[in-house]
Symmetry: D3
Subunit: 253 residues, 6 copies
C-alpha cells in the first residue's frame, strides 16, 4: 500500500517529523511518502496562507494520483484543499482535522482543541461545524506559539502547549485533547504522558484511518460532487493546472 502524506507548507523539517509520525501509525506493509509542495507559504496561520497552500496540495495529489498512490493524508489542521483532492484522487483522502475529531469521538464524549496562534481558531470552528462536532468540542485554545516556533524552539513550545492543556483540563470536562497543528505531532507522546488523558495527533490518526480505509476498499464516492474535475483551460500563472479530458470520458465511480 502506498500512502502519500502531504505537508501543505514548504518547511521540510516539519515534513520530516510529520513523516515519522505517520510511519509510526501504520502497519509494515504501508509505504509512507511524506512530501511538501514545491510552492506555497512556509507555514499556514490564516486564510490567505491557506488559499496559497491549497494549490500546492492539489499539485501533489495530481502527482500522486499519476503514480498510483493508494491513499492521501493532508497533514495540516485546516484540511486545506481536501474537497478538491477528493475530486482528483481515486483512493481515499483524509484530512488530519477530520481524522483527529473522529479519533476523539471514539475516545469519549468531548474534546478540547489546543493550537498554535489564536487567529487560526476561526478555521478550527469552521471545521468543527462542517464535521458535525459542535457538541463534542468543548474548548478552543491557543498557546500563541507560531507554527515555526514548534520547529525553532521545541522546548519552549512544549512548555507553552503543556500549560495550555493543563489549564483546559482544569476548566472543562474534556475527555481528550486534540492537537491543532500537524507540527505538534512530535510533542504528542510527551504530552500524553504528562496529562494522562488521550492526546490526539491528527497525523497519526489520519495515517491509521487512511490505512484502514484502503484495507476495506473504501474510496471517495465519485458519482456527482466528487467526480473528476471537468477538463477546462486554466490561464496565466496557473496554466499548468489545466486538466485534459480522460480518453473515452471514463471515470471510476
Amino acid at each position: 500500500m502506498r500512502m502519500m502524506v502531504i505537508n501543505p507548507n514548504t518547511t521540510m523539517s516539519m515534513t520530516d517529523s510529520i513523516g515519522r509520525a505517520a510511519r509510526a501509525a501504520v502497519g509494515p506493509d504501508v509505504r509512507v511518502e511524506a512530501v511538501s509542495p514545491g510552492m506555497g507559504p512556509v507555514s499556514i496561520e490564516g486564510h490567505y496562507d491557506e488559499v496559497l497552500a491549497s494549490v500546492g496540495v492539489v499539485d501533489e495529489v495530481r502527482r500522486g494520483e499519476a503514480c498510483g498512490v493508494d491513499a492521501f493524508v493532508i497533514a495540516c489542521f485546516g484540511d486545506p484543499g481536501l474537497q478538491a483532492a477528493r475530486e482528483l484522487a481515486s483512493g481515499p483522502v483524509v484530512g488530519v482535522a477530520e481524522a483527529a475529531f473522529r479519533a476523539a469521538g471514539f475516545a469519549g464524549r468531548s474534546f478540547a482543541i489546543v493550537t498554535t496562534l489564536g487567529r487560526t481558531l476561526g478555521r478550527a470552528r469552521d471545521l468543527v461545524a462542517e464535521y458535525g462536532c459542535e457538541r463534542q468540542c468543548v474548548a478552543y485554545r491557543a498557546c500563541e506559539v507560531p507554527v515555526l516556533g514548534l520547529e525553532d524552539d521545541e522546548g519552549d513550545a512544549y512548555m507553552a502547549l503543556e500549560a495550555e492543556c493543563d489549564d483546559v483540563l482544569r476548566s472543562t470536562d474534556a475527555d481528550a485533547i486534540v492537537l491543532g497543528c500537524a507540527g505538534m505531532a512530535k510533542l504528542c507522546g510527551r504530552l500524553a504522558d504528562h496529562l494522562a488523558v488521550p492526546v490526539i495527533d491528527g497525523v497519526a490518526a489520519g495515517a491509521a484511518f487512511a490505512e484502514g480505509l484502503v484495507r476495506i476498499g473504501m474510496h471517495t464516492g465519485k458519482r456527482r460532487e466528487f467526480a473528476r474535475p471537468i477538463a477546462k483551460p486554466v490561464r496565466g500563472l496557473l496554466s499548468g493546472f489545466s486538466l485534459e479530458e480522460l480518453p473515452g470520458g471514463r471515470r471510476r465511480n
Copy 2:
C-alpha cells in the same frame, strides 16, 4: 493485537459471518475473536431487544477486559451498550454505526442508510443525531427483510436490499450507502460491485478503525464520564454483574 468483535445477538451463524468480515479488514498481526453473548435475543429489531442485548454486550466486554483484549468492536448497527462498554474497557471500543458513519464521512458529503426493518430506523436517527451526522445522512430506508431473513434466505434478502439501494441512488445525490445491519456484511461486496458507489459495512469499518486506534495508542478517556463503573451491589437475576472495588482504587486514565 487482540480484537474482540461482539455480535450482540445470539445467532451464531451471524457471528461467524461478522467474524469473517472483521478479519478481512485488519492486518495479519491482529487476532480477531468473534463472539456472541450467552444471553439475549436472537436478533435486535427494536428498543426492547436492544435493552436485553446490551446486557450481553457488557458481559462480553467484562470477560474480554479480564483477558487483556486490546480493542472491542460492537457489531450491531444500534451500537448497543457502547457507552457502558467504554466505561469497562481500557482500550478503544468501536460501534459499527459510528464506524460506518465515519467511513462515509471520509468518502464524501452524504450517505443513505439502508437497513432491515423500518421500525429500526428510529434508532438509526438517534445515532445519526448523536454522532453529528444529520447533514450527512440524506435518506433512511428499509428493505423490510427481518434480520434473520439475512441468514435464512440470502438470495432473496440480497435482491430486496439491492432494489432499495438502486431506488435511493435514483432519488438522492448520496455519495455512499451505509448498510444498516451487521448481518449485511456478507452482502457488501456484491452490492458495491452492482451499485458502483462506496457501500459501507460497519463491521469492516469498525475493525479497521479499531486496529488503527490501537496502533496510535488511543483509548477511551477515563477521567470522568467513562471512568470505570463505581463498585456497588447488583441484585436479583443480574447479581453476577456486581463490580468490586479495584485494589487500591486505581484506574487507568
Copy 3:
C-alpha cells in the same frame, strides 16, 4: 386511573420517597403504585448501571401492562429503558427527565440541571439533545453527592445541593432549576423555598403529566417504531424475557 411509578434502582427507601412525591402530584382518583425491579443495581450513576437497570424497568412494565396499568412513570433522571417501555405499554410512558424539561419549558426560557455525581452529566447532555432542549439548558452542575448519599445523610446532601443551586443562579440567568436525580424529590420543596425560583422535581412533573395524558386519551403511537416488540426467543439468563406472538397477531395502534 392506575399509575405505576418505577424506581429503576433497587433501593426501597428511594422508591418510598418517589412514591410520596408522585402521589402528591396527582388527583384523588389516581392510584399510584411505586415499585422497584427485583433485579439491578442499588443506584444508577453511569452507563453500566443504566444498562443493568433498564432490564428491571422493562420487567416492571411487562408486569404492569399485564395488570392493566393506565400509565407508567420511569423515575430515574436517565430515563432508562424509556423507548423499550413505550414499545411494551398500551398507555403513556413518561420519563422524569423528559417531564422535568417540559415543566421547565412551561416555566420560562432556560433552566439549569443540578445533579448528584458529575460523571452522570454526560447522560444528561444526551437527554437534553434528544429532547430538543439545547437552547434551554444553560448549565450542567453536580453537587458530587452519590445517589445513596441522598438516602444516608439527607442533611449534608441538602446543604451541598443548595450551595450548588445558589452558585448556578448567581452565574447564569436560569429561570428554573431542574433536579437531576429522582432521589432529590424529597428535597424539592425546601429548596424552592430557599431559592425563590421554580425548582422542578421530575417525579412530580412526570406523575402530573402522565395523569393529564391519560385524561386526554393519549398513548404511544404504535404504528411503526413503537409497535409491540416482535416475538422471538431470548436465550440464557434472560430467557424469561422472551415474548410470544399475540393471538391473531393483533396490536393496538
Copy 4:
C-alpha cells in the same frame, strides 16, 4: 383551581367548543372559564391577525390575574402573546402549540402538523423551532379550510382534514397527528377513531398540563426575563394598558 382558557379570536362559537374540550381534559376540582377578548380579529390566519389578537390576550390575562386565576391556557395554535402573558401572570401560562408538541413528544418520536390555511404554516415552523421540535415534526400540512370554515361547515371541514391526515400518514412515518388550530378541538375524537393513531388537540393537552403544573406548584420563573412588566405610560388608543408600580415594588419570584 381556577383555569382561564383564552380563545384569542373574537368568535364566541369557537370559544364555546374550546371550553368544552378543556373541561373534558381536567379533573372535577378545576373550574374552567373559557373567554374571548373584547377586541380583535374574528379569526387568526396570519401575522397581522396575530399582532392584533395578542393585545386581547394580554388584556384577558391582566383581568384574570386580578381575579386570582391559577393558570392560563392560550387557545390558538400560534401561541399569541404567550411570553407577555408569562410576564403578567403569577401562575403557569400554557400555549396550545407548546402543549400539543409536548404531548406528541410523550407519544412517540415524530408528529405531523395538519392545520387550516397553508399561509399559517410559517408560524408553525417558527414555533417548532422555538420549542426545539425540528427533529420531531416531520410534516407541515394544510387542508386549506379557513378557521371560520370549521364553524360554518363542520362536515366539509372534517372531510378535508381527514383526507389530509390520511395522506400524511401514507407518506411519512409520523407517530402522531398534531391539530394545527384550536378550532379543530371538536373534530379530534372522530379523527382519532378514523386514523387509529394519536391525534393531539392542543386545547385538551394544554388544559391537562396546566392542571398538572398547578398541582405541582409550578409557575413562571420571575427573576429576570419574565418578571412583571416595568410600569410605564402607554399612549393613545392603548392607554388603558398602562401598568402602575406595585406598592412596595414587590414581585413574586
Copy 5:
C-alpha cells in the same frame, strides 16, 4: 425613494435621533420619514411592551403603504411586528436587529450584543436563533441602563455602555459589537472610535440595506405566507384595523 423609519415606541426624542442616524446612512435621493405611532408604550423593555408596540407598528405601515412608501425600517431591536409588516407592505421591510446581524456577518465571524436591560436579552436570543446567527453571536450583555436613560442622561449611559463593551472585548474574540437598542444610534460613532472594532447600529444598517433592496427591485415574496392579510372584521377597541377586500381580489406577488 421614500423610506419610512418607524420608531415603535412613542418617545419623540428617540424618533428624532433615529431619523438622524437613518438619514446619514442613505444616499441623497432617499427621503427618510422618521415616525412614531400614535399609540403604545414610551419604551420597549419586555414582551408586554412589545405586544403593545407591534400594533402601532402595523398602524404606521398601513399608513405608509397607502402613501406609496418604497421601504420600511422598524427601528427597535426586537423587530416588533416585522412579519405582519411584511404582509402589509408592497416594498421591503427591514428590522434593525436583522440588519445589524447581517452587517456583522459581512464584518467577520462573530459579534457580541450589548443592550440596555438584561431582561430584554431573551428577545435578543430569540432573534439570533430566528435569523440563524447562533454560531455568530458569542456574547449577550446588558449595561442595565433603561431605554429612556439613553435619552435622559446620555453621558452616564455612554459610560456604562462603553464599560460593558470594553469588558466583552476583553473576554471574547468578538470581531464586532452589535448595539442592542435603536436608542443607542447616537452613541455609535463615539463608541467605535473608542473601541477600534466595528460597532454596528442597526438603524444605520437597516436604512442602508433597505435602500439597497429598493435599488435592486427587491420586495417581500407575496405568494403565500406574506400575501396581503385576509380581509376580516376586527372587533372592539381595535376595530379600526379591519381590512377590506381589495377590489378584484388582486394582489402583487
Copy 6:
C-alpha cells in the same frame, strides 16, 4: 466610492455582464470596476476550480487594496477566497452567495437555490450552513447548464433555468429564488417577470449591500482572525504572493 467587483473566473464576457449588473445596483457616486484575475480557470464548477480561482481573487484584492478600493464584491456563488480577502482588505468584502442569502432573508422566510451544474450544489450546501440559512433554504436545484453555457447560448440556458424555477415553485412554498451563479445576473430580470416572485441575483445584492456598508463606515473587524496576514516567505510558483511586514507593524482595527 470605489468598488471592485471581482469575477473569479477568467472569462471576460462574464466579467462584463457582472459589471453591468453591479453598476445597475448602486448609486451614481459609486465607481464600479469589474475585473477578472490574470490567472485561473475559465469557469468554476467544482472544488478544484475553486482552489485555483481563489488565488486569482486574493491577487486582485491585493491589487485593489494597494489602489485604495473602498469595497470588494466577489462575484462567484461559491464565495471563493472570501475569508482571505477579508484578511487583506481594509474595507468590506462581500461574497455574492452571502449577499443573495441576506437579500432573500429580507424578502421572506424561505428560498430555493437554482444553479448551473448539480455537482456544485455541495458547495452551496456548505455556504448555506456556514451562513446559518439551513432553515431558510428549502430546495437545491440545478438546470444542468454549464457555466459557459450561459455565455454561449443564452436562449437555451434561459429556458432550462426557467423550467427548473417553475418546477421548484410548484413543489415548494419558497418565497424567493436565489440564482446560484454570477453568470445568471443577466437573466434575472426576465426570470422575475416570468415567475412573479422575487428572483435574487447575488451580484446586484452584493453591490448594493457593499455600497451600504461603506456608507455606514463598516469594514471587517481586524482584531484577531481577520487581521492582516502574517508576513512570511511564499515559495516557488507563488513566490510573488509573499507579504512583507508593514512598517512599524501597524494595522488598522
